[in-house]
């Protein structure tokens, strides 16, 4: 069963950021915004343990430094703004025998046979989200998940993610630019300024 555990950041520090304390409840979406270079992406990288950093992150009983790195990242999954694809076909990037319905984000089953080279940037972004949630993570870190989408797809992806997050009770950090999107999806919103989080 999906975890029902909060994601806790305690005294986290990376780059110019320091002393970040934050608790994200299961099923809650916390939005992060800030000028470019304020360290939003690096903060997510620290939570996913992709860079050396200070402080502690826990997901329920799971403590970041106490489980192998891949085990942690399989639970606390970061979806970057720019996705990378290593195999020829879409299906090779998904776990075998996943049962994720892709119709809500505008794909039918045939998409699995598509070649990656013919995907548009918008399709890549939607499929990158799909291949991440298909791996059954227990928390999500989304770095501008709708940056490459048109207005219509943005609303579809938002609705799909919100439902999924509520259903699976995932704690989520969502980096966004658009104020309207932040109001639509986030219960709480923080701005990164002068190396700390400010509640907005």
């Amino acid at each position: 069963m999906p975890a029902k555990t909060p994601l806790r950041l305690h005294n986290l520090g990376i780059g110019s950021l320091h002393g970040v304390d934050l608790t994200v409840a299961p099923g809650e979406i916390v939005c992060l915004s800030g000028a470019s270079g304020s360290g939003k992406s690096r903060l997510l990288r620290a939570v996913a343990d992709l860079e050396p950093h200070d402080g502690e992150v826990t997901l329920g009983d799971l403590v970041q430094g106490r489980v192998p790195g891949h085990r942690w990242r399989a639970a606390v999954m970061l979806v970057p703004a720019e996705s990378q694809w290593w195999a020829e076909t879409v299906v090779a990037h998904f776990p075998p025998e996943h049962r994720l319905d892709l119709t809500p984000i505008g794909f039918d089953d045939a998409v699995m046979g598509w070649s990656v080279s013919r995907l548009s940037s918008g399709e890549k972004q939607r499929l990158a989200l799909a291949r991440a949630v298909a791996r059954q993570p227990e928390a999500l870190l989304l770095d501008e998940p709708t940056a490459n989408l048109d207005a219509d797809s943005i609303r579809r992806v938002e609705t799909w993610l919100q439902e999924l997050i509520r259903e699976r009770r995932l704690p989520v950090l969502w980096v966004a630019h658009d104020q309207a999107q932040i109001e639509r999806v986030g219960r709480r919103h923080f701005r990164l300024r002068n190396g700390t989080l400010e509640q907005a």
Binding site: D49, L50, G69, A74, P80, W86
Partner: protein, 266 residues
């Protein structure tokens, strides 16, 4: 049959041809004229020196001196492996990984060949040990250098891809598997090709030398086959070991990709 003596003035004649090539290169503005002359001078100097060293070594023939010579050859090969990488692991790891993996593969295979197969008495007789080790190291060095260069360069170019795979929960070893396989292949392919072309396209240098020195071709061929096998084994295992160790070093204990451990040499 005795070997026909070569005198220094006869070598001088051959060197005139090299000078002619350098002149042509200079006139054609290849930017290689000086390089050719310097390299030719280095050949003369280095080979003359090694000739003196080998003569001394053969007359002494003690294990200490053979071991010292082997160590010097290993360290020079290690330096060469490092110099051939565009992006190197910093903090002495580029030299360390290359040297240790060459030591493990070349020395093991050479000692095994000497003691079990050729069997000179004593086993470290320098006439056998030094040329054999030299051929092993020379080829292993190429394989290890190619493998490590391909590994570090591939990781640098595809660092975002590797990180994306890590983000999806893959282990470091899964995330780098494609690049690692590529690096091992590129280290091993030259020697496999050399084996496949031996005798058809190229007459291997060692065999040619042995025939020139008066050996019956059948014996020279047997030695050449043995040498081909041993250098393939040495190169193969050396490349595998170096690429495995190098790829491990590119990740830390949290399985993070650490491209900050690479530095680029211009």
């Amino acid at each position: 049959m005795d070997v026909i003596e070569l005198s220094w003035w006869e070598l001088g004649l051959a060197s005139l041809l090299v000078v002619a090539l350098a002149a042509v290169a200079h006139l054609a503005r290849l930017g290689l004229g000086k390089d050719i002359l310097i390299a030719a001078a280095r050949t003369v100097l280095q080979l003359a020196l090694i000739g003196l060293v080998l003569e001394a070594l053969f007359s002494v023939g003690s294990l200490h001196w053979v071991a010292l010579m082997a160590l010097a050859m290993l360290l020079i090969a290690g330096r060469e492996v490092m110099a051939r990488q565009k992006r190197r692991l910093s903090g002495g790891w580029a030299f360390g990984i290359g040297t240790v993996s060459m030591f493990l593969s070349s020395f093991t295979v050479t000692v095994l060949t000497l003691t079990v197969i050729i069997g000179p008495d004593p086993w470290f007789t320098p006439q056998y040990a030094i040329p054999l080790l030299g051929m092993m190291l020379g080829n292993t060095m190429t394989g290890v250098a190619l493998g490590l260069d391909r590994l570090t360069d591939g990781v640098w170019r595809q660092r975002q891809l590797i990180e994306n795979r890590l983000m999806l929960g893959e282990s470091w070893s899964q995330a780098i598997a494609d690049i690692r396989r590529d690096a091992m292949r590129s280290g091993m392919i030259p020697i496999i090709n050399a084996m496949a072309a031996a005798g058809v396209v190229s007459l291997p240098g060692m065999m040619t030398g042995q025939i020139l020195a008066g050996s019956p071709p059948a014996l020279a061929v047997k030695y050449q086959i043995l040498v081909m096998f041993t250098i393939t084994v040495g190169t193969g295992f050396g490349t595998v070991a170096a690429v495995m160790a190098g790829s491990r070093r590119l990740f830390d204990e949290r399985e993070r990709l650490r491209t900050d451990r690479l530095h680029t040499v211009s």
